[in-house]
Symmetry: C2
Amino acid sequence: MATPAFDLTKLPTRAPADFHKDDTLRQLERIKNELVDWQMRLYAENRRSVLVVLQGMDASGKDGLIRKVFSGLNPQGVAVHSFKEPSKDELAHDFLWRIHARTPAKGMIHVFNRSHYEDVLITRVLGLVNATEARRRFARINDFEQLLREAGTTVLKFYLHVSEEEQRARLLERVQDATKHWKYEAGDEEKARQWPQYRAVYEDVFEHCSPAACPWHIVPADQNWYKAYFVAAALRDALAGMNPQYPASKAERPE
Amino acid sequence: MATPAFDLTKLPTRAPADFHKDDTLRQLERIKNELVDWQMRLYAENRRSVLVVLQGMDASGKDGLIRKVFSGLNPQGVAVHSFKEPSKDELAHDFLWRIHARTPAKGMIHVFNRSHYEDVLITRVLGLVNATEARRRFARINDFEQLLREAGTTVLKFYLHVSEEEQRARLLERVQDATKHWKYEAGDEEKARQWPQYRAVYEDVFEHCSPAACPWHIVPADQNWYKAYFVAAALRDALAGMNPQYPASKAERPE
């Protein structure tokens, strides 16, 4: 595969120098309070929705980020979907079939923990999908996200960008911390070795699936506190831009 | 319909005298912290699940209760399903079809905001289901919940018990509070008048669908603070009884 124009190693994996942990965590708490209000408005308005797509290599901290940013919101208006290895039934359909079924209804915020992008990521690293097929899928993904946007869904895509060193340290921690043992898998060492391969296929995604209306956010993710702040702030900004309003009465609220 | 043996009007709609608001809210915060820990364990263990069924008349505060008790938990392990008027497709199946599709997978806590019980409640008040058909459905519901329990799901059923007076006051508030306008519906006055009819069909449910292994909890619900405390404490007790544990490694965690 040709070297993509997008160079992930040039992008920071750590917070900018003027961000400090305690300060940023205080800001995060303020933003989370704002999110609670925006989410209630989005739900009451019942006209538009938000889809948060989370991607990142193993141990980039997707689970922890979901806990830090989205706990506190009213779970009635939030759903998290984790996409793992597809089932036989899912494999019997096109690759967007199981994804489409889990997109947010009006009023809802859905979080995808991994997503349709796995079909152009791990599948390429495993050699199940070649470059030609990947190009085809990039086009279908862009079409699909446009369909969602035209139906009133704001799509926010975040890549949790961890350095090769930080990933290795975290995979090691799974062995050492009793509350993290259950995440340890026999393949973890191999995954750490595959960082450069994942980097290459991610770069290809960022080059082909970042239209101006729906870009990827590359989140410096070596520090959990900054990563959570970054995603929460981006979500808050998106909701503020949508500016959902309480309808005057249920009669004015679309069912 | 014969008067059921179960008499809802004999059960309190307010907190016991020795409960005070500030104290109880502090206890609630402590319990919510315990729930965070139990939920992480349940999710990590990935062997059993919890289903919380919430029922109550209109304006009994189901939405607010979900917000108060379940926000704070990791949304990755929690899903809320609201059952409204069934769709054509749903009506083309048996009444448990849409419900069964939304039961929790292992590791998950699901909250049903309304549930399969609507099929023996509002449907009876509207005259769509008669007493004979209701009896048949009670049996099917008990069978269904037993199936879930045998598969490792703890089923917790809560009825939010508001007095006729409190319900009327809350429906009125929807007209007066700008952030609640959107919940107001033209039929709200009629719903308030139907309190006695709903009481009768609820009593019939409590009499027939409270096996020892899976009883209804009648929650005094005129005060929001006590109601949230009651449900949170019952959920905590149930989880503590299940006592889920972190597996030693992913290999020991059932997929």
